[in-house]
């Protein structure tokens, strides 16, 4: 086992000539929590979208556990073991909390997905599809056994957020509060048993106490040895949970290191707070 889980090298992506991500390189080790911070528009979310295959890179490479994934689509990347959440929280609105989580389990299932290796091949993809249809309508002994495992796994994930999601397990996701949608999304991502969990601003739109709750959950995950790649604006949380912090500005990495080093880095302070200029404005003239 290597000590590098995710390796990103010279990653590039531009939009209409604007370089959103401009040749960045970084790594995430197994069990490590790495955060990307930086001002709006600095390329953080684009980086996450590239790592998870939501958009394609224009240059560079992404390797997960020694396997190149920069050409793979996001479904395959999920199968490889990267699960993610989205900036604004994307849940399956019409499905219940429990069913949202069950969909997250999809790529880990065996008996429910016969011949799943063919699912990306032209024409042959119908073999697993018809297999899945057969299991849905008729079922096999193995699929019935796996059904119990699915239910147990869903319970485990709901249990993680027991007080919040427990009473709402059968409610459709559109009826949830914003914070509960975010929790459902995280639970769905964890259901995949990812080697790397990618979180895009998991506490956006949450208040102080909800943020603290998420922080505690992240610390728990970290203690369990879950590798996490995190984009977050609330620096309190970032400083507490991260092993390492990457600071981006203008599509490039301007600083990288342990939280206490990054916090003192003048380049970081400038990127976030701005250079202190002479006071302008009427009151001070």
């Amino acid at each position: 086992m290597s000590d590098v889980l995710l390796q990103v090298e010279n990653l590039e992506r531009h939009f209409d000539g604007l370089k959103a991500v401009d040749g960045i390189s970084f790594t995430v080790a197994p069990g490590e929590v790495v955060s990307i911070i930086g001002p709006n528009g600095s390329g953080k979310t684009t980086t996450l979208n590239l790592v998870t295959g939501t958009i394609r890179a224009h240059g560079g490479s992404i390797t997960l556990d020694g396997v190149r994934i920069d050409r793979a689509d996001s479904a395959r990347i999920a199968v490889h073991g990267i699960a993610r959440t989205f900036q604004n929280g994307r849940v399956f609105a019409t499905l219940s909390v429990a069913d949202n989580i069950e969909v997250g389990l999809h790529s880990t299932l065996r008996a429910h997905r016969p011949f799943s290796r063919l699912s990306n091949l032209f024409l042959l993809r119908w073999i697993p599809l018809i297999g899945e249809l057969f299991i849905a309508i008729v079922g096999t002994p193995a699929s019935r056994r796996e059904r119990k495992q699915i239910d147990a796994a869903v319970e485990t994930e709901i249990h993680r957020f027991e007080t919040r999601l427990g009473p709402r397990r059968d409610d459709p996701a559109y009826s949830l509060s914003y914070a509960n949608r975010r929790r459902t999304e995280i639970a769905r991502a964890l259901a995949l048993k990812p080697r790397l969990l990618v979180l895009d601003e998991p506490t956006a739109g949450m208040n102080q106490s909800e943020t603290v709750e998420v922080l505690e959950q992240l610390l728990e995950l970290k203690a369990e040895g879950q590798a996490i790649l995190l984009v977050e604006h609330k620096l309190d949380l970032v400083m507490t949970v991260s092993d390492r912090i990457i600071v981006m500005d203008g599509g490039r990495i301007i600083a990288e290191g342990r939280p206490e080093d990054v916090r003192r880095d003048p380049a970081v302070i400038e990127a976030y707070l701005g250079r202190r200029r002479g006071l302008g404005g009427g009151d001070h003239a």
Binding site: N40, G41, H233, R263, L273, R276, R277, G281, G282
Partner: protein, 242 residues
Amino acid sequence: MTDLLALDDVHVYYGPFHALRGNTLTVGEGEIVSLLGGNASGKSTTMKTILGLIKVKSGSVRFAGEDVTNASTRHRVKAGIASVPEARRVFPQMTVDENLLAGAYTRKDRVGIAEDLERMREHFPRLGERRRQEAGTLSGGEQQMLAFARALMSRPKLICMDEPTMGLAPKLVDQVLDEIVRINKDLGVAVLFVEQQAELALSIASRGYVLATGEIVLNGTSRELLDNPQIQEAYLGKATQA
């Protein structure tokens, strides 16, 4: 100083989500005021409320002595509120001149519009040089200038700017801030702007408001805010002083 814009105890909801929780905020004539806060703290919602893009549940919005709480965006633009939207949002397949004319949509005085067009070309020489170029082909900094000029074309008393420095290289950020000051000084237009970088923002603003989860948690003059340790905490975490 008389208040040009006054929000009083404004509540806004997105469905069940309480986005603004009783905010009170003023901008005086010819003043620069900044709105600070993290993501999803309600800064953009405040801007949209002022522009009339979102309905207010309770509370009032007054502009230049008139109650505009329920007025349309069009009415507010006519009354003198202009907008520089988040991420600039120039019309990409229209020329620079056409973008400027779109900014003057609510005006009827052809002569005045032509004069202002000339004035903008003088004030922003780069835009004058590129008047027939499609806005989508301009650089980020130029697009920002175009967004400023487009807003000025409605002859506003107040310009609302949502993160005018977002996504710009640090060197350009300085230019944009200088430009805000210049617009304010030369044209006497009040500016309310959203900015993430607190120290930068407060370096040109006279006053600031800090938002967190839909509430104004701090407000004061720029000096007061800069000296307030809570500001640094809000941005760099509690341990900053260590």
